[in-house]
Symmetry: C2
Subunit: 170 residues, 2 copies
């Protein structure tokens, strides 16, 4: 997943390690550490997916090679691990996915969120009427889960609507 993120970010423009860390952090959902980032860069370089073009001073600006671009394209199509972070990362690179496939990615996510919502509602209702004593704080936790999943679906629906109108316009 880190490799995927690195290749995607370097595809846009060459960047050195420190800058990559910031760019990744700026996406908002992943604060990667140097101890993880630098070894990953070396690994990707050894595999021939990126190469170092010497930058200013001690900076080592990396750029993607052609094999790296191909690898990134493959990773874009592989099904991820279904986590929130994975989806967010994929969304950050959805612009590289073929336009006619984008809607499918968003709709798959919507289905997963619907499932989550059903589960969350079930626990919430179950806790209110069940044998277990519904602790005040755990009830709040369950309610939050329901609400934030609903909000996520609503947000996704806006994205999907935007995607449809973009597809219609093209």
């Amino acid at each position: 997943m880190l490799d995927f993120a690195i290749l995607g970010l370097l595809r846009e423009q060459p960047r050195h390690g420190y800058e990559l860390k910031r760019a990744l952090g700026d996406l908002g959902f992943w604060q990667v550490s140097f101890g993880s980032l630098y070894p990953a860069l070396r690994r990707l370089e050894k595999q021939g997916f990126i190469e170092a073009a010497k930058g200013e001073g001690r900076r080592k600006a990396y750029r993607v090679t052609e094999p790296g671009r191909i690898r990134f394209g493959e990773m874009l199509l592989e099904s991820g691990d279904d986590s929130d972070r994975d989806f967010q990362l994929r969304l950050a690179f959805l612009g590289y996915v073929a336009p006619q496939s984008r809607l499918g990615v968003l709709e798959d996510r919507r289905t997963a969120l619907q499932d989550r919502l059903h589960g969350a509602r079930r626990s919430f209702r179950g806790a209110r009427s069940g044998a277990r004593n519904p602790d005040r704080y755990r009830m709040a936790l369950m309610e939050r889960r329901v609400r934030s999943t609903e909000a996520d679906i609503a947000w996704l629906d806006e994205l999907i609507a935007g995607e449809r109108s973009a597809a219609a316009g093209a």
Copy 2:
């Protein structure tokens, strides 16, 4: 963190491994695997924090020992790793925190979320007016982050209000 969760859940009632996994999953934010859970149970048993009371069939129901109860109390006071999951877990056990300390826990979280919101808003505004081309999908990602953080703060405020009125009532 897993140890903390296990001790907290076993404090309420004895449970065997399989049941613990479900109870943890039911909290909604952590689907722990058996490969992680069973070794953790053995470790906690070896440390004397939990003990196995033989259950029905091949089930091994564990319960917390007195040292385990003390350890849990310590962990409750230790400052966590500031992650969402850590807060949610602490909230699930907030009932075990002394009533006069609960508000502090919630307010610390509120401060952290406020910081996050500022950061999220900054990136959002920055992306709209900055030199970087604001990719449609990344903008959506940033907007989501702002919105969901706002929603989390609103939810927390309800909890805080409830806590205050509970404190006033007592």
